[in-house]
């Protein structure tokens, strides 16, 4: 059976070149970068080269890059570490943070933790396409606001946020601005100077690097309180022996992403647009979620009415196709996607969420195949659905 992986927002595969670059550091070059002998020298050199590669990807200085264990850690570090540093600076008077309602849980729940620590939190809403209005951010600011965090793009619905406009507002008000660029760094152009942000998170497994490694960029001169104490690694900002092979892989993936980005975007966009246009042509009562144009090149997300996403996911899996869903049934907590709900989608419609995230290995034949197998799956689930039965009966009865 044909195998079609369309869950690249969960993780991308590791590029062979990246794996090759990592292998020596899982073998003979096993040294600890903190050590002063030649074993340590080799490892340190590799980590510093990777730091350069990651810095180049986002137009930053190498010394501004802090390696972390994941995008989630980078987000936790940014939200808690920056807010605490600002609070310390303001002698405890500064305690308000602003994040958007569609942030990844690693941002949202870090902000919730800050609330438990005495901070106050404002959630900025989004429109039906998942776009944050910069004016809403402006209105949410207070005298004691220390930090704003809005993601560069949302991985679930693909919408790209107006980061530059928001940065203009935070800068006018002298407030720190972090962006979670896990969905964008290595995928679309990300330049920290152009964006105008103060801190930015990224993760290796979103652009064909390894899992278990991420980075936080913090603009030079911006203070951050470490989450992990007890070592001098990463300039004293993130203690713990570095995951050298993963960092090397992240660096290599960053270099490749930078070189191949225009070609990758072109390819992904063509495939994505096929899904975005052909799927709603083939299946009635389908809603495209996220911004129609201003979206990630590999993201095609939908809600298919009257059926549930996990059932679709599992039937697609039985046909060799990997996708994901934001339905309540798919989540371990059994809650519908907070992103879809924040965009104003009703619960029943959000249950029909299905998300295709394309990768550089996907082909036109993959798209043909998915469209071919999805149609009977949707039909089959609709034939089982009491909601669909009600809909068709209402239709027949002239409404």
């Amino acid at each position: 059976m044909r195998q079609v992986y369309l869950d690249n927002s969960a993780t991308t595969p590791l590029l062979p070149e990246v794996r090759e670059a990592m292998l020596p550091y899982l073998g003979e070059l096993f040294g600890n970068p903190s050590c002063l002998h030649s074993w340590g020298d080799a490892a340190r050199e590799a980590v510093e080269r990777a730091r350069e590669q990651v810095a180049q990807l986002i137009g930053a200085e190498a010394e501004e890059i802090i390696f972390t264990g994941s995008g989630t850690e980078s987000n936790n570090f940014a939200i808690k570490g920056l807010a605490l540093a600002q609070q310390a600076k303001g002698k405890g008077k500064h305690k308000h943070v602003v994040v958007s309602a569609i942030e990844h849980f690693s941002v949202l729940y870090s902000a919730r933790t800050l609330e438990k620590w005495g901070f106050e939190l404002t959630l900025v809403p989004v429109d039906k396409y998942g776009v944050v209005d910069p004016e809403d951010v402006r209105r949410s600011l207070r005298k004691d606001t220390v930090l704003v965090s809005v993601m560069h793009a949302n991985a679930e619905v693909g919408t790209i946020e107006p980061i530059q406009e928001i940065a203009r507002i935070t800068r006018e008000n002298n407030i720190l601005f972090h962006t979670d660029a896990v969905a964008t760094a290595g995928t679309i152009p990300v330049d920290v100077k152009e964006l105008g942000v103060d801190a930015l998170s990224l993760a290796g497994n979103q652009f064909y690097g390894p899992k278990g490694v991420g980075a936080l960029w913090v603009r030079k001169g911006v203070r951050i309180i470490p989450l992990l104490d007890g070592g001098v690694q990463e300039g004293g900002r993130r203690a713990g022996t570095e995951n050298v092979p993963a960092i090397v892989g992240l660096g290599k993936a960053a270099e490749l992403a930078r070189m191949d980005m225009p070609a990758r975007i072109k390819r992904l966009t063509l495939l994505r647009d096929r899904l975005l246009t052909e799927l709603p042509q083939k299946i009635d009562r389908v809603v495209v979620t996220g911004h129609p144009q201003n979206r990630l090149p590999g993201n095609a997300s939908f809600c298919i009415e009257f059926i549930e996403g996990e059932a679709m996911l599992m039937l697609l899996n039985s046909q060799g196709v990997a996708v994901t869903s934001g339905s309540a049934c798919t989540s371990r907590a059994l809650k519908a996607s907070h992103v879809l709900l924040a965009m104003g989608l009703p619960h029943a419609l959000a249950q029909g969420s299905i998300l295709f995230t394309l990768g550089i290995d996907n082909t036109d034949e993959d798209i043909d195949y998915v469209l071919e197998v999805l149609l009977p799956i949707v039909d089959r689930l609709r034939q089982m659905s009491p909601l669909y039965a009600k809909f068709t009966k209402a239709g027949k009865g002239g409404k």
């Binding site: 549930e308 059932a311 309540a328 049934c329 059994l334 009703p346 249950q351 034939q383």
Partner: protein, 129 residues
């Protein structure tokens, strides 16, 4: 490791008794789209036995498998026997359900019970006429 047992997968992939019954003797509807799962059971009763059971379900793989197995378990049973089908029995018959899905998707017994209630209340009303 897959989250569902082989039996759940079998009943999800090949659900038994999907559909509606024309002029059913009883209908039972449970759930709402907010919690994620909705089930409608249709029953045909003859001589106090469930002659036919059919269902329609909006929900996850577990919800569909639960509906399917409940319909299978109930068919041919007397109303009293059918009422003894509990969510635990359903889960056991399916060789287990994921812990977090035990309550939300395991509504089949309840939907069947409601269909029986519906049948009995119609019957009683009919009797009074």
């Amino acid at each position: 490791m897959p989250i569902y047992s082989e039996k759940v997968m079998d009943h999800f992939m090949n659900p038994r008794n999907v559909g509606e019954i024309e002029n059913p003797d009883g209908i039972g509807e449970v759930g709402n789209p907010v919690c994620g799962d909705m089930m409608t059971f249709y029953i045909k009763v003859k001589d106090n036995r469930l002659e036919d059971v059919k269902f329609k379900t909006f929900g996850c793989g577990a919800a569909i498998a639960v509906s399917s197995i409940v319909s299978e378990m109930a068919k041919g049973k007397t109303l009293e026997e059918a009422r003894k089908i509990t969510p635990q029995l359903v889960a056991d018959e399916l060789e287990g359900l994921p812990k977090n899905k035990f309550h939300c998707s395991n509504l089949g017994a309840q939907a069947l019970g409601k269909a029986i209630d519906d049948y009995l209340s119609k019957k009683n009303k009919g009797g009074k006429k």
